[in-house]
Symmetry: C2
Subunit: 309 residues, 2 copies
């Protein structure tokens, strides 16, 4: 199976309101809820593509029980979350029908104890034994050491399991130094890691810092990959109208899916770009439109940049 | 015991944020949760005054389980809620530390089926047998007939249980016609019921429509009571700084408490005004400050208006 790690899981709640006005009382017209945190989003997309997936990370409290109940209803995703004494956080996205804007309220999440972090590392080591690849995704909850992803990257490499890291800031900097197989920063994360706003220079620097391969997600410019085998660019398929929430997670799912299916890099990137675009156009945030995906995956153009790597 | 009815129960969640800005992402700095809906607030205050209380209404889903777990931790309040297939609603109060303002987001609540409404009426009839008084509080969830409170008032009167009604709009209009012992409208609700913005005229009209007694809560002007025995005014004790959330529910608790303790009207009103003021000044919304209450209840002045009734 493919393993995804979400240390800072969340129950993602979306509220539809007519128009959000500070200091007013609002009747919520629509409520949707789903398990969230980047690794859970990646897992859902992988399962929809037909992969067997397990999710791990921390879960606790009443919100954690709701999240686990909802995971039970997600076919193909096995729950390997580790219980903690604190409560899983909620995030609330207030979608304003009058402007199309979303206002986000994120609870802080539980503080993880040293014993809980140790228990997680044991569970993770067990899960790696049957994993064909692992994705480490998102922010760290309070209490987890800032070098947590570096530790988890090293454990994956020791177990010979290919490892993808998708995080930001200091956890990314330390994680990269532990030599993950792939990192997938966006333009801001890449600039923060390397100090360079020129993507190709920054990707070369990220490889020097330890990443075996780098796939940068550049928004409307699509994906850019720098690997030991070469450099490729996969532009986004035209202007897309929709909600970009989860598009980056879908790209991670596409890369992992292509990896375990032993696809060459251009086809991995095509899968990632098509899934990302199909997520933007889907009516529900974070889901992908299968018709759009199947249409695009055959049509996306991936260009090799000669002599760049 | 005293019975309180909350057909539209809620889990009341408060989020502290530094400053609420539409379209931005906010880190929630503080999260508090408690069982909500007017009748549950009334019950909590009654229990704190030493009364035995039972709460009924509808409860369901994961939020309903959380609400019931939290009720278990409220001493003196017995859970007699009736399970439904829909999910109990959440309300979110976003408290903006920069302005002191609160922005409210209220979920719609579950739709009640005819079978669930019938099951509730049976449970209510059973509970009335051991009730010394009953309070019917708040709005109606979708699916419950608009004449619901009229039905519940008539059942209480048939069981010889004194009944207080605290609601608004058409449910209040129909409920008043069923001749409750007491209604507690605020100035807006009273004006909507009667068409009159002059409180004394409006209270006389509410009595003509069927209410045996009327206690109007007039905000900073305190309480005004019109009963078969006379008219009284109990002004609020000076200007109060704080959060008025729950002050009306505390007044209902004071009136019920005074009723079952067989206090004369002036002392009932003193209890209600003092509890209401002690709720405004308490740091946590909806709770009352016991020291303030005990200080004020002996000092509140209640004036009889001669010749008015």
């Amino acid at each position: 199976m493919i393993l995804t790690v979400t240390l800072n899981t969340a129950l993602d709640i979306t509220y539809g309101v007519r128009s959000l006005r500070p200091h007013a009382t609002h009747r919520v017209t629509e409520v949707t809820e789903r398990p969230g945190g980047k690794g859970l989003n990646v897992a859902r997309v992988l399962a929809a593509l037909g992969h067997e997936v397990a999710v791990t990370g921390f879960v606790g409290g009443a919100t954690g029980r709701t999240l686990q109940d909802q995971l039970l209803g997600t076919p193909g995703v096995a729950d390997a979350l580790v219980p903690v004494s604190g409560a899983t956080r909620r995030t609330i996205a207030v979608a304003d029908a009058s402007t199309g804007d979303t206002t986000q309220l994120n609870e802080p999440g539980p503080t993880i104890t040293p014993a809980e972090w140790a228990a997680f590392q044991e569970a993770y080591a067990d899960l790696l034994r049957s994993a064909s690849a692992v994705a480490l995704c998102g922010s760290l909850p309070p209490g987890v050491p800032v070098g947590a992803y570096a530790t988890l990257v090293r454990a994956a490499r020791a177990a010979s399991v290919p490892v993808l890291l998708d995080t930001s800031g200091e956890p990314l900097r330390r994680g990269v130094a532990a030599r993950p197989d792939l990192v997938k920063p966006n333009a801001d994360e890449l600039a923060e890691l390397t100090g360079s706003h020129e993507p190709l220079q920054a990707m070369k620097d990220a490889r020097r810092r330890g990443a075996h391969a780098v796939v940068a997600s550049l928004g409307a410019d699509g994906l850019c990959a720098l690997t030991a085998d070469g450099e490729w660019r996969a532009p986004a398929p035209g202007r897309l109208r929709g909600n970009p929430t989860g598009a980056g997670d879908s790209a991670v799912a596409g890369l992992l899916s292509g990896h375990v299916d032993h696809l060459p890099w251009p086809q991995r990137l095509a899968r990632a770009v098509a899934l990302s675009a199909a997520t933007v156009v889907a009516p529900v945030a974070g889901e992908f439109d299968r018709g759009t995906y199947e249409d695009l995956v055959a049509r996306v153009t991936v260009a090799e940049q000669v002599g760049a790597a």
